[in-house]
């Protein structure tokens, strides 16, 4: 009887949480439900909830952490097995499989790229490794539109297609990327290739007919990418063309979330509760201040400092080919500034040097979860 009542109570707790998530889907409620499923041994439900959560709130620190933990546990056995195979008898297929799990399941693009690179160093003519390398560069390109990512993406996908002209994914991504930057003449051969082995692909045919006869926006591919990078993404015309041929969106490349601007402005004062907080600010990526508080004086100085830090960090990260700024902290003898990027906004908090980093991090994560739109 005790056993059944324990099971009954456990299930009833879960049902309450499920109802709560249906009523009010927030990063916290989804993360809480996934954790509870895990504790209750319902690992399939936990994995499903983790997937839903990361798709809906890809920028929530809590959701990211929960997703990483659950997917690591879920894939542990397979990861260990494949890792062991790499150590004892490395094969191209094992590198590709492992890289694919890190990419699709774990959303760990760094580890996936590392494995794909390592594999390609040993097996330079393995199609799947070029494909995954190109896909990851595409994910990065889609997020930040950096020239380097775009060029590397095409380099690997061209290699994959050279090895197998009927590689649909490689041809599809290339057709899309070339269209986005205005290299219509380069996109067409990939659409032609797709239609040879998939003649019923209506989207490919529509884009092919639109691109025929269009003059490319330039001859130099790198210049075309640079032009897109300079304006932060493709122009309206090329974007509209590319959207005629949607490429499968992997969960890891979910579009960035958005902040609820009003809540973001109102909740910025939550940082007052952090011991030693001197000022806090939230601004958009054009430098416009959305909300701020300052324990003494104006927050204008902080705004200027944060903007300089943010633009400098973005520039440095891009030149170093490490993607786009996500988080940073600056320490000088008189002040400490913590910054984070979320929902296409920058949030910064200035504190005393004695303030614990962990308490600022927790406050920032809670703030992000409270202002992200699902």
């Amino acid at each position: 009887m005790g056993w059944f009542s324990w099971l009954w109570n456990k299930r009833r707790d879960l049902e309450k949480l499920e109802a709560e998530v249906r009523r009010n889907t927030t990063p916290a409620s989804l993360a809480g439900l996934a954790d509870k499923y895990m504790q209750a041994g319902e690992s399939n439900n936990a994995v499903e909830t983790a997937r839903r959560a990361i798709e809906r709130f890809p920028e929530s620190p809590r959701v990211r952490e929960m997703h990483a933990n659950i997917m690591r546990l879920h894939n542990q056995q397979l990861l260990n097995k494949l890792q062991k195979e790499l150590e004892t008898r490395p094969q191209a297929g094992t590198y590709a499989r492992l890289a694919d799990i890190y990419y699709r399941e774990m959303h760990d693009l760094n580890r996936s790229l590392e494995l794909a690179r390592e594999g390609l160093a040993k097996f330079p003519n393995f199609e799947d490794l070029h494909l995954i390398n190109g896909q990851i560069r595409y994910v990065r390109y889609a997020a930040d539109h950096l020239t380097k990512d775009g060029m590397h993406c095409l380099e690997h996908l061209e290699a994959a297609v050279k090895l197998n002209p009927m590689n649909y994914k490689a041809n599809a991504i290339m057709a899309r990327v070339y269209t986005e930057v205005g290299a219509y003449d380069r996109a067409l051969p990939h659409l032609d290739a797709i239609l040879k082995f998939a003649p019923d692909d209506g989207a490919a045919r529509t884009l092919q007919s639109k691109l025929r006869g269009l003059q490319p926006l330039g001859d130099d591919l790198e210049d075309l990418f640079k032009a897109v990078e300079a304006i932060g993404g493709p122009g309206d015309a090329t974007r509209a063309l590319a959207s005629l041929f949607p490429v499968e969106y992997t969960k890891g490349q979910a579009p960035p979330g958005r902040l609820d601007v009003q809540t973001a402005a109102a909740n910025i004062t939550d940082f007052r509760r952090v011991e030693g907080a001197k000022a806090a600010i939230v601004m958009d990526e054009q430098g416009k201040v959305i909300g701020s508080f300052s324990a003494s004086g104006s927050s204008a100085e902080l705004a200027e400092m944060v903007w300089t830090l943010y633009t400098t960090s973005e520039d440095s990260a891009r030149r170093m080919d490490i993607g786009s700024f996500t988080r940073g902290s600056l320490e000088s003898p008189g002040v400490r500034i913590h910054m984070v990027e979320a929902g296409q906004h920058v949030i910064a908090v200035a504190t005393a040097k004695s303030t614990r980093d962990e308490s600022v991090r927790q406050a920032m994560n809670a703030y992000i979860d409270s202002v992200l739109k699902g």
């Binding site: 760094n110 400092m305 440095s316 170093m320 490490i322």
Partner: protein, 117 residues
């Protein structure tokens, strides 16, 4: 100094390190594959100069530490006298643990007395 950098590079997730002045003069470097001295020195000196000018504008002294995290990597800048220790890191590392090793390396370089005003 190169030995200290090499030792630091053996820490998990460290891809390379360099000692560079604010003007971009490389004092010592031990960078991993795919990282060039010229690029890292140029990026580091540009960032350090810009941030220090911004700090001066608000009446603060130069930066003592700056940690930049991006989607696919991290960079740490630490003041070691008249130069800066710059460390390039993998994105997945545990920052708290690695920062202890970086601070230790910075302290040892400072103690060498070679990087003094």
């Amino acid at each position: 100094m190169k030995e200290i950098l090499s030792e630091l590079n053996r820490e998990v997730g460290v891809k390379g390190s360099m000692v560079v002045t604010q003007d971009g003069i490389v004092v010592a470097s031990d960078l991993g594959q795919g990282l060039s001295d010229d690029l890292v020195a140029a990026v580091a000196s540009g960032a350090i100069q810009t941030i220090n000018v911004a700090l001066q504008k608000i009446g603060q002294p130069n930066l003592s530490k700056f940690v930049l995290e991006a989607g696919f990597g991290k960079i740490v800048f630490i003041d070691i006298g008249i130069a800066y220790l710059v460390v390039i890191l993998d994105q997945r590392i545990n920052m708290d643990v690695t920062l202890i090793a970086i601070s230790g390396a910075a302290y040892r370089i400072r103690q060498m007395g070679q990087i003094t005003a």
